[in-house]
């Protein structure tokens, strides 16, 4: 039993790396999609809305299978890790897009009006006035997105990325102890999520306006 710990720790590290990369890609996709949905160009609004409803409307596991197993058929060759990051990142982006858009539109329109009447351009008002306030409101809901995406990394076990869930399954074969193996994986997930949650709460307190 003791012999498996190093492998689980290594796997937990991979789960963390996966989560970080997924979160970064998700934030990029989510930000782009959020601004596209608020654009004055109908094409951008439509494309972003389609992206959000497509990726929120189908299981992430199916998205991963299509990318990893179906990809080669249409000329997309990715290894399991790459497919995992890209698949989960694009999926997380669809959820984050809604969080970011929600944060932006929840800022009182008087703020935009005050900025524009001073002579600021649309993007100057966005950058100086709207986003700094919206970002503060987004910390907690983005924390929820982060919590979800960390747990969603378990899905990439299904395309054989050697992260926590896959590692737990693998050592059941040699130890015959499924209860302990899955419990151990669960505890490690919980530690990752607890620490992340505390980080989000700290950040949320730190950015609040006095």
């Amino acid at each position: 039993m003791l012999k498996v710990y190093p492998f689980f720790l290594e796997a937990a590290w991979l789960t963390i790396v996966l989560s970080v990369l997924t979160a970064v890609l998700g934030l990029i996709c989510g930000t782009l999609a959020a601004f596209a949905r608020l654009s004055r160009f109908a094409v951008l609004r439509f494309t972003a809305a389609a992206y959000v409803s497509l990726f929120r409307g189908t299981p992430a596991l199916i998205q991963l299978f299509i990318l990893y197993f179906g990809g080669p058929q249409i000329g997309i060759q990715l290894d399991a890790f790459e497919a995992g990051v890209i698949g989960l990142g694009i999926n997380a982006g669809a959820y984050m897009a809604e969080t970011i858009r929600g944060g932006i539109i929840s800022i009182d329109k008087g703020q935009r009006e005050a900025a524009r009447t001073l002579g600021l351009s649309h993007w100057q008002a966005m950058h100086k006035i709207i986003l700094p306030q919206a970002a503060r409101l987004m910390v907690r809901p983005l924390g929820v997105n982060l919590n979800m995406l960390i747990k969603a990394t378990a899905l990439v076990a299904a395309i054989s990325v050697v992260e926590l869930t896959y590692t737990a399954q693998r050592y059941i074969g040699s130890t015959y102890k499924p209860f302990e193996m899955f419990l151990l994986a669960g505890v490690l997930y919980m530690i990752i999520i607890y620490v992340t949650g505390r980080g989000v709460a700290w950040l949320d307190r730190k950015v609040q306006i006095t």
């Binding site: 009182d108 008087g110 703020q111 009006e113 005050a114 900025a115 524009r116 009447t117 001073l118 002579g119 600021l120 351009s121 649309h122 100057q124 100086k128 006035i129 700094p132 306030q133 503060r136 306006i209 006095t210």
Partner: protein
Amino acid sequence: MTDEKSFVEIRHAQKAFGSLEVLKDISLSVAQGQIVGIIGSSGSGKSTLLRAINDLDPLTGGEVWLDGVQVNQKLPHRQYEKHINQMRQQVGMVFQHFNLFPHMTARENVKMAPMMLKGLSQEEANALAEEQLDHVGLLERIDYYPSQLSGGQKQRVAIARALAMKPKLMLFDEATSALDPELVEEVNQVMRKLAEQHMTMIIVTHEMDFAASVCDRVLFMDQGVVVEEGPPAILFTNPTQPRTREFLRKHLEGAK
């Protein structure tokens, strides 16, 4: 072109939301240094007219001119943006709900736009913020956040923020309507001071006494038209139109 006397000129302003006409062919001319009050019940179109002057609520018909330049020009998007940002720098606006930037101190609220748009250095902008906040009597609150200020103080910061851009014209959209009664006077005093400095002002207000004491002319609006206008001494004491009389009578009752 507008004639020389006319600093702000509104020609045949129309505004419709679908079939609802909010402004019906309003024309108005304001000379430099003049102070014009607009009164009327809510829904009369007075705020819409004020907000049309800096194109915050674009008109559906008619023209707005400021100092010989048309504000609401029909231009391609990019050119329009450039033009309107230029125009708005010359027009200060004060809102009913202050709309201070809550993530910035009073100082930062005041110096943000001059630094961004006029390229002032930190030192120049700080000096400007101190000067403007001193004018409204809030120098000692310069590093407070809006949440730490009273309503009257917030509105005075908002006025200082608008004045820091050195506007040619100030628009007040019910600047004291959201204030507790005891805080109204401190804001009125700041506005009186501006009047003494001959700032051109257009003031939408519910306060008849204040309008009577500072305005050169008062307009009474109802249902999207200017029913009557004139010097406050005449409009308030001897209105010719039945609708004006009715409004003033109701307003006096309400004030009691």
